[in-house]
Amino acid sequence: MNQKQNIQLPEGSLGKQTSTLNLGPTHPATHGVFQNILEMDGERIIDAVPTVGYIHRAFEKLAERRPFYQITPLTDRLNYCSSPINNMGWHMTVEKLIGAQLPKRVDYLRVIIMELARIADHLVCNSVIGVDTGALTSFVYVFEFRELIYEIFEEVCGSRLTTNIGRIGGFERNFSALAFSKIENFLKTFPAAMKEFENLLTRNRIFMERTMGVGGIAADRALNYGFTGPNLRAAGIDYDIRVAHPYASYEDFDFTIPVGTTGDVFDRFLVRNEEIWQSVRIIEQAMVKIKDLDPAIYHADLPDFYLPEKEDVYTKMEALIYHFKIVMGETDIPSGEVYHSVEGANGELGFYLISDGGRTPYRLHFRRPCFIYYQAYPEIIRNSMLSDAVVTMSSLNLIAGELDA
């Protein structure tokens, strides 16, 4: 048993003055599969080398074998904290390709669902910044409301986390009265809890000192690194896809884009909090707007792409034909190149779709926001403390599923 171990040390490691530290891939502080090989001088980080790809599932390759409507479940698993936004983004990409015009009510219902998803995502991210700075209370308070949002999704589509919500051309079924009452209940009870959450953290001395001036990035660097979403806006650039390239009738809504100044953890936190308030505003407006519209409309008239009612399939010849054609992938799709992007909860989620007219995409590329801005992480955390690196990582809202696609 007393065998001598033959340890092979990398060259030069005995004489060097710094130490190498593996942070991740499964570390309780990283909230996901992230590995960083840090070069430390005491507690100060000199350099970091992020490794990605631990949960890579080759979605782009899988998509090349799947009919268009079967790709939606793949998008669920990108940013799984706000999968409805991904689902809608994909539906809209295909709708853009086939040139579909959607009724206003469908757009507004989509806006409600997407903004609820954004609130849920921001709640997770911001409350986890609290957890990483040692404040668990606020996390527990707001997670009750994330649960309420998931109950709304459950009422609309039947599932909670990986939602597969909606279809190409609209929703799979109309919103029930219970769904609307759940949304109204959420809108009524959530603001008080959100205020409490802000009271607990925003002007909290400990929280401010842990987050202000930590993990900052200047606006020009953020742009050069392809930052989008709240992280870019925290650096002071008001780029929001909902305004710059409106989709789903976002131009009908009145809301403001919050921006920060320094791009540090505290600014990102503030920007997300304000976006939650703006999302509540948008949902309130949408709830008023849909009251004037025909409550029976929940999908566009797209018989070639939207599955008919099951009852009609059994009783009507035409519905049976369309059902067969859609399921067997016999529908003609125009060939072309589409890029459609939506304002995901953590940035610009883009779909670059090349169709050659076949039943599956010729090529599909996901522009995943956190894959793009995660490469700035070494630069952001250089010369900061290890504990700051953990807070910075949670404030960037990195989602492993989206990072690795």
Partner: protein, 166 residues
């Protein structure tokens, strides 16, 4: 106000017949350039104060096995953030010598995106600071998103869809 006509005019004035194939795909102006010119064109788009395409939205590669000597395509999507104008640039390269100049010096964004394109398509980005695989294991010796790798095992006979396939 930036329009497609202005962009086209400025590019043609600067590069002449080196930029061609202008088309519009769902609102995004698309054009091509020989692969040696990608960095020149993107630098011009970036530096010209009126054009101002300073933001790299997306970079990816596409494999077209049937196009002789231009099997691989690298697609850049750049954006003028102020105007909200997007522009797509394509370069084509033969698969036997897939060398394309890197744009990492211009856009830090492209570092990992180029690594991803290398990992899946084998595009060799000349001058890239760290061109290694990013998603797949380092030992992999092929480029999985190329079209010669079908997703399902082609020897399977229980899933024959000749009856329905196109």
């Amino acid at each position: 106000m930036l329009t497609h006509d202005i962009i086209k005019e400025k590019l043609t004035a600067k590069f002449g017949d080196q930029v061609y194939g202008f088309t519009e795909h769902y609102g995004i102006l698309t054009f091509e350039t020989p692969k040696e010119n990608n960095l020149k064109v993107l630098t011009f788009l970036n530096d010209d104060p009126e054009l101002g395409f300073t933001f790299l939205n997306d970079l990816t590669a596409v494999h077209y096995p049937q196009r002789l000597n231009e099997e691989l395509s690298v697609v850049y999507l750049v954006q003028n953030i102020k105007e909200g104008m997007r522009l797509r640039l394509k370069v084509f390269t033969p698969i036997t010598k897939p060398d394309v100049y890197t744009v990492t010096g211009l856009f830090a964004t492209s570092n990992w995106l180029e690594r991803e394109a290398y990992d899946f398509f084998g595009v060799n980005f000349v001058g890239h600071p760290n061109l290694i695989r990013i998603m797949n294991v380092d030992e992999m010796d092929y480029f999985p998103l190329r079209k010669e790798f079908p997703l399902e095992d082609q020897t399977r006979i229980d899933k024959d869809d000749d009856m329905f396939g196109r």
